[in-house]
Symmetry: C2
């Protein structure tokens, strides 16, 4: 099925796809034309069966004793993630984390280009961070609307997050990657994905605490 709506991918599968894409890219660079689930799994330390099921979800048929055609597989996964066509995004909040994300190379791999950055601090406006010009927050609504940007990366302090989100949604943003710890409330049809750096730390320190007990 081509229509993603009929293809409800398991959430864990979606999370593994970016990892697969990186490995597939490296294997293609090494000259491989076919990707077998066993080799890929070995490389990533995953279960081969689980890997095969994930790859099968992309809808590209594999061949016994060869694997999946690399180029088609990569294209299918990219399509499933909506990374097949270039997507524009804006970044709001050029503090230390926001600045770091402006320089994060991974976004480019995913056909995501950050076309503008904003900050509430007027002293930062006009400066350039990793090649992106920082603009005052007041220009955000107008520019987002004009550029028809649908995706925003939110790296503002928690207290400012809800107000920013509302402005962004009002200007046409459909998806927000929220790095603040605010619980954003947005209208239906807008998707918020929270990123919380404390979560992996919690998992790690709990595991260590358990081992030492």
């Amino acid at each position: 099925m081509e229509n993603p709506r009929e293809n409800p991918l398991p959430l864990p599968t979606i999370r593994r796809y970016p990892i697969f894409l990186r490995a597939i890219g490296e294997m293609m660079d090494a000259g491989e034309a076919f990707i077998s689930s066993s080799v890929l799994a070995e490389r990533l330390g995953l279960d081969p069966v689980l890997t095969r099921k994930d790859l099968a979800m992309a809808g590209v048929p594999g061949r016994p004793r060869r694997g999946y055609p690399a180029e088609e597989l990569r294209a299918a996964i990219n399509r499933a993630l909506g990374w097949d066509s270039a997507t524009d995004a804006v970044l709001v909040g050029t503090g230390s984390l926001g600045s770091a994300l402006l320089g994060y190379a991974g976004f480019k791999e995913q056909n995501l280009s950050i076309v503008a950055a904003f900050d509430a601090n007027p002293r930062l406006a006009g400066s350039t961070v990793h090649g992106v010009k920082v603009r005052p927050l007041a220009e955000m609504a107008r520019l987002v609307r004009r550029l028809k940007v649908h995706l925003a990366i939110l790296t503002v302090p928690t207290a400012a997050a809800q107000a920013c989100a509302e402005t962004l949604v009002e200007a046409g943003v459909r998806g927000i990657l929220n790095f603040s710890s605010a619980q954003l409330s947005v209208p239906e049809g807008v998707i918020v994905q929270n990123v919380d750096l404390a979560q992996p730390l919690a998992v790690l320190s709990h595991a260590i605490a358990r081992m030492e007990s």
Copy 2:
């Protein structure tokens, strides 16, 4: 049961705990002495029953029509996460992401203090980032051993990650928060928690792609 080994907390619960801690802290600042699961759930946009089950796992008994005693609850959750006593960590790789993490306030909330930072680039050595002095990589093994640090945050380029990990483990590190996209291989007893910024972006863009299809 006090012993965490007998208390295998569900992984999703552990991930929600940091969120709960923040909210509980805010409610305590507002003068609340008791935290009810329904109020907490409302505030965080979660299911009240799910929230109550999570809180129950901490082992603190609640009271009908009141809720859980705030101070005890917070202490119990912190204990479950191993955040009850201060933990030292080192950070390796002071690129843009590493620098941002040095300034991340959330770590302090979790009793985590980054006692040293290292970078392979000798030109960076000696500089100070967010109050932490950057040292050359060559000093890492010795210092980690001397300070008896058990936790490391790894923000080096993917190509350098495995070598750094090995040095750290050799020097006594038990847990690694890995921000690189390398698949680290470490000896048994060492825990690696991977953090991949591409994953939440994948979830978000897939969701948007599905809606627009």
